[in-house]
């Protein structure tokens, strides 16, 4: 806050313990969460402590450093995010009407979906590109830091119970077919058509520690950087800027923007409401 604003509480014992835990995890295992946004990180550290049945974060630190199974549980808790197909349908509608026409001008399109989690939004994009007649010339590179969620994303198997919500989202996103044409139901799950996977490439990539690996025409990084602090956000914004072709498209979550970043002036707003930007310099 400004000088007139609210005085933040000083660093308490718990903040120190969290800091030491993250430092230990980084130095011993190389997993770097030191620049994650503190409030949600602290929530998840507390949750880990409770799940492990421990009384303090210092005790959690000791257990994580001496017990790799405990580390695995901790990493899973830190990385799993909740997602859905066609999350924010108006984003996909805007992509259909404003981005798809631009992509038609390219003979080949590389899309990077950074932080794809269990893949729901990747399959959504594959369906959209298919309906726009673009999919055969696209390759979607879907990355996440967590190998377990990537494994699930590769399978393309999702709970049947979610399909009702997803069908509504699909229609709101301007879907041109029957959503149920894209999957086969079996017991309480559905599997998406193998044809949708043809041009998907899932691989491990950590935005915190890994660099650029290609040049892309579209980069989607939605509701991923909200878990990072401002320093790390700046670094990732640089990485994304450097990975985009000139006039490439960048899409973020609907409560994220480039307003508080240094890269703001290097993009034009293609659709302000739906957070679609175009690299122009």
């Amino acid at each position: 806050m400004s000088e007139r604003g609210v005085q933040a509480a000083g660093e308490g014992l718990e903040d120190i313990e969290v800091g030491l835990l993250l430092e230990g995890v980084y130095r011993y295992y190389g997993a770097d969460f030191r620049d994650y946004a503190p409030a949600s990180l602290k929530r998840r550290v507390r949750e880990a402590m409770q799940r492990e049945g421990l009384e303090s974060i210092s005790a959690l630190q000791a257990k994580i450093l001496h017990d790799t199974a405990c580390l695995e549980r901790f990493l899973a808790l830190l990385s799993i995010n909740v997602t859905s197909m066609f999350r924010d349908p108006s984003f996909y509608l805007a992509f259909r009407t404003k981005v798809a026409p631009l992509l038609r001008t390219y003979p080949f399109v590389r899309v990077w979906h950074a932080g794809c989690s269990t893949g729901e939004e990747v399959y959504s994009m594959a369906i959209l590109l298919h309906e726009e007649g673009l999919y055969p010339r696209c390759r979607i590179y879907a990355t996440d830091m967590n190998p377990e969620v990537l494994r699930r994303a590769r399978e393309g198997i999702f709970p049947l119970a979610s399909m009702q919500d997803y069908t509504v989202n699909y229609m709101r996103a301007g879907g041109k077919s029957f959503f149920s044409d894209y999957y086969t139901a079996q017991y309480d799950h559905v599997i998406f058509n193998p044809a949708l996977k043809a041009n998907l490439l899932f691989s491990e990539h950590n935005l915190v520690t890994d660099g650029s690996f290609n040049e892309f025409h579209v980069i989607l990084c939605r509701n991923v950087m909200i878990y990072f602090n401002k320093t790390l956000q700046r670094r990732v914004h640089n990485l994304i800027y450097e990975s985009l072709v000139m006039f490439g498209i960048f899409g973020v979550g609907n409560k994220e923007s480039l307003r508080f970043t240094l890269r703001e002036h290097e993009y034009d707003e293609l659709d302000a409401e739906n957070r679609l930007y175009r690299k122009v310099r």
Partner: protein, 191 residues
């Protein structure tokens, strides 16, 4: 030093906020952050609806947006809203007790970041969200205010909050706005 006022409400919250917000004058020197339980569907126009009752500007914060005094911030649909020292942060973590935004998540982060400078307010609601968060605010030295259950459209949420911690003030809805106004104003004079 100015305060951060965090308000949580669920069932009946629209009426309660419509009664509370007009009592906050244009020169109100605290930041107000509101979680009203809401569905994840787009297009509710909740912000526009509440703005009609408020002299202070109401907005749904973006990730990492600075917290400014004299503003009312409304938690956006389908996200948890958290506060950090100086700014907001958003999260799409799983709903907490079926709610996203969750009152507990906001309150606990406020207690962590602003300690004794937090004023927590629990209004009408038909579930127990906010009780844990209010207890955390109290524990961190903040001030806790709960709507008098008999004036609440749904008394469960105020009752759960009162059961969870030794609340500083239990006030009828009509007095909460004035109380906050008085508190922030007095606070401002002293500094």
């Amino acid at each position: 030093m100015n305060k951060l006022v965090v308000v949580g409400t669920s069932t009946g919250g629209l009426n309660a906020l419509q009664a509370l917000l007009p009592a906050l004058p244009q020169k109100f020197s605290c930041a107000v952050v509101v979680v009203q339980h809401r569905g994840k569907e787009p297009g509710s126009r909740l912000r526009e609806f509440l703005q009609r009752s408020s002299l202070l500007p109401i907005s749904e914060p973006e990730d990492k947006e600075p917290i400014l005094p004299g503003h009312v911030y409304l938690a956006p649909r389908d996200y948890h809203l958290l506060v950090e020292p100086g700014n907001f942060a958003l999260s799409t973590e799983a709903p907490v007790y079926f709610a996203r935004p969750s009152i507990d998540v906001l309150f606990e982060s406020a207690a962590d970041a602003y300690g004794e400078n937090v004023v927590g307010v629990v209004l009408t609601g038909a579930n127990g969200d906010g009780a844990r968060g209010l207890a955390r605010i109290k524990q961190a030295g903040g001030l806790t205010v709960v709507e008098e259950p008999t004036t609440a459209q749904a008394p469960e949420m105020p009752e759960a909050a009162i059961a969870a911690t030794k609340v500083d003030r239990v006030l009828p809805l009509s007095e909460i706005g004035l109380f906050l106004n008085d508190l922030c104003h007095r606070d401002h004079e002293v500094n």
